[in-house]
Amino acid sequence: MTSETVVTTMELPRKRRGPVVELLSRLIRTKPLGAAGGLIFLVFLLAGIFADLLAPFGMNDTNLVHRLEPPSLAFLLGTDHLGRDVLSRVLIGGQISMIVSFCAAGLATFISILLGVVSGYFGGRIDMLIQRMVDAWMIFPGLVLLIVVISIVGPGLVQIIVILGLLYGIAGSRIVRGSVITIREQMYTHAAQSIGARTPRILWRHILPNVMPVVIVLFSTRVGAVILAEAGLSFLGLGVPPPAPTWGSMLSGTGRTYMYLGPWLALAPGLCLTIVVYAINVFGDALRDLLDPRMRGSR
């Protein structure tokens, strides 16, 4: 009887699919809202990548005849106080947001993994030292830290990516560390240690693959956070310097003075920000529920 069961299961192997395809199909089946969020984000990502092709006008083409025009067929989202096409500027602004968010979230994830794995796996004094530094780092409000550091190193794309990466990377290392500590105590890790596997091999073959779910979730939530932080900095005039348009800077500075005459100027960039961040948050939540049940409701 038992052997029969074994035979049947062996005769009917489950259809093998790649882990990514498997995850995607689970996402669509069980979390339609999250999948929709992912799709919306993908649309923005593609719009960002192809912004130069999609933008009907140059981002800094001024046209003083068409100043502060409300949305029309020629200018789908209207024009600003210098007669620049708002749609084109929103598209290029989206491109900058995407570049910053992916680079900074990528860097942040890398730093989180590095600190989290070292701190969590080795433990002891190293852990103690790293954790106290993380404690100290985390008492400073993100925006305040950003303002101070940007005021010293000066605004610019690279500076912002590095600083946002550091800011979120150090904060996120806590989550990776927690996960590493659990994995370190698992049977398979102890087994690898007892057969004499070297530390780099254990880290690479056992620890890293198992923290990946946490890391993927961390990355997705970081993308949203970084977009918001970059927009906030740009709003304060400390982001990517003009004339490059960013969603944050389009809502501040001289733009704000003209919003009373052209209220549509206040809508497009803010709406884009809200939709992108909403989409990535919903997507991240769904991913978290699928990949890492322990983190559920932790935000």
């Binding site: 100290a136 409000p141 010293i152 809200t274």
Partner: protein, 316 residues
């Protein structure tokens, strides 16, 4: 409880040391030419001024000496003098601190009075239409940038109804009504953005607590729903929410910087932005350190209240 407080206080020491190192060395990152820039901005580029500024920033000593001198005087409340105004930084900090504190407190009141009732309601009527709307709203509030909401509040009421929020700060003691009518708009926006996370947490915790055996026991004894929630469920459900409020202190302060800028509230955030744009580094490092220590103290207060609320924590 006493041992618990002492343990918490001792745990602060390493954090404080590292925090002071972060503040100190971030200011030390200033490249030399910034001093030149400061001089050229003010057309006073003589050798004497350069030496003065270096002395004011304490750059003329070995780094270790600089650090200990700086920590020593900061512990006495001396953050040096403002580079441009030549007044003690501590004076400026003391003038701005109560304003930021008021804004934060108002925002917290708004956040809690929105988040707690709605979070509890949402949990009591799980999966109802109301619950669904509430959850969507809180997710949306997480995504809307507060500076956009602020901009909208500045622009649209004035376009539609010719009304715009007051932008003139009046001290509370001088004219409480005028003060509150100015502060209430930024405080509400700040509070709303903070309420989203708190609301979610309250809902999650209430859902968890309401399934516990002791709640069922209380119900079986015939305790009314209101009393059940207030006396039995909230007490346990709120503990993680209190922690969350502590964790949000940095968010609150960070968000306040933007609100202070939009609504011209002369608090610490605006002071920081002013100092940054005029490159007044003693003020920048003063605000930086005070904000960090402030968050640390809030976290301490939260930890201590946690010990009061939950006997398990005290005895660990």
């Amino acid at each position: 409880m006493q041992a618990y407080i002492i343990r918490r206080l001792l745990a602060l020491i390493p954090t404080l040391i590292f925090a002071s190192v972060i503040v100190f060395f971030s200011i030390r990152l200033i490249p030399g030419d910034v001093i030149d820039l400061m001089l050229s901005q003010n057309d006073i580029s003589t050798g004497q001024d350069r030496a003065n500024i270096e002395a004011a920033l304490g750059l003329d000593r070995p780094v270790i000496v600089q650090y200990f001198r700086w920590v020593g005087s900061a512990m006495m409340g001396d953050f040096g003098n403002s580079l441009w105004q030549n007044t003690p930084v501590s004076e400026q900090l003391l003038a701005r601190m109560p304003i930021s504190f008021e804004l934060g407190l108002l925002a917290l009141i708004v956040a809690l009075s929105v988040a707690l009732p709605i979070g509890v309601y949402s949990a009591m009527r799980q999966d109802s239409l109301g619950d669904y709307i509430t959850r969507s709203f809180s997710l949306l509030m997480l995504a809307i940038p507060s500076f956009w909401l602020g901009t909208l509040v500045m622009v649209f009421p004035s376009v539609w109804w010719r009304w715009s929020p007051a932008l003139e700060y009046t001290p509370f003691l001088e004219d409480p009504i005028k003060n509150l009518s100015h502060m209430i708009v930024p405080a509400t926006l700040l509070g709303l953005s903070m309420s989203a996370v708190t609301m979610r947490m309250t809902r999650t915790m209430m859902l968890e607590v309401m399934r516990q055996d002791y709640i069922r026991t209380a119900r079986a004894k015939g305790v009314g729903e209101v009393l059940l929630v207030v006396r039995h469920a909230l007490r346990n459900g709120l503990i993680p929410v209190v922690t969350l409020i502590g964790l949000q202190a940095p968010v609150l302060i960070g968000g306040a910087v933007i609100m202070e800028q939009i609504f011209v509230v002369p608090g610490m955030g605006l002071l920081l932005l002013e100092a940054v744009s005029s490159r007044d580094y003693p003020v920048v490092s003063g605000v930086f350190l005070v904000v960090g220590v402030g968050v640390l103290l809030i976290n301490l207060a939260v930890d201590l209240s946690y010990g009061l609320l939950d006997p398990k924590v005290r005895h660990q």
